[in-house]
Symmetry: C2
Subunit: 138 residues, 2 copies
């Protein structure tokens, strides 16, 4: 079972030139899993999204435009990460409750996942999440 200390912020290579900036994330070098799915999330200013945990899915998050705050919670501890540059990525293992706050207008969060969408992988109720964490620890 993972703890918030297993969520990991990393800086991706970026190449800045007069005609723009390129940020690169390679599988294995930066993304520690085979990618099954990409999704992007846009939300109005100050919206809270996420508010769920995954039983098995691992996520790799990049704020490709704007800025978001991601609160990771393992039921015992919390960590807050700010993604406010396109070359910052957050690796979130399964078993962590995530809340994402969209801090700037027009922010876009891109998330790479190691699993396809499976509704049964989601824990959307916080009390059920605490039971899941306690059960898993017994």
């Amino acid at each position: 079972m993972n703890f918030v200390s297993d969520a990991r912020l990393l800086e991706l290579p970026h190449h800045v030139r007069e005609d723009g900036e390129v940020v690169v994330a390679e599988v294995m070098a930066h993304i520690p899993f085979t990618i099954a799915r990409l999704f992007t999330v846009r939300a109005p200013l100050d919206t809270e999204r996420g508010k769920h945990a995954h039983r098995r899915c691992t996520q790799f998050m990049i704020c490709v435009h704007g800025a978001v705050e991601i609160i990771c919670d393992d039921g015992s501890g919390k960590c807050v990460f700010t993604l406010n540059r396109g070359n910052l990525a957050l690796h979130v293992p399964p078993g962590i409750w995530n809340t994402i706050i969209f801090h700037k207008e027009d922010s876009v969060l891109a998330v790479l996942c190691d699993r396809l969408y499976e509704e049964e992988d989601y824990i959307r109720d916080y009390d059920a999440f605490i039971c899941f964490r306690q059960g898993a620890r017994l």
Copy 2:
């Protein structure tokens, strides 16, 4: 050898709610290859980027913020695609010369690739590209 008619625009599933929008791209269902790399490109308004072809790399492009125009050229024909919504994707097979024009301030293009970065995979000179196309057709 691919032609511009093999470049393919597709509409990705998107889920719009009051608290935001989610766009999903799944490997196999939408992305027809195993992902080796993601890169994002930001560029000043009206900048032209790309201006190269790949010998072997296949790309899957999503404009995650703003709008870009992508000109695909196989040496004989050209196609112009506009990515101006986050749920439009362009699948570009290898052997196609691409030019990307950043049409809106703060536009961000995300590109998924089936290969890691290999400098020898790039053809950066247009005359060399035409020779590559002609050689490949002989």
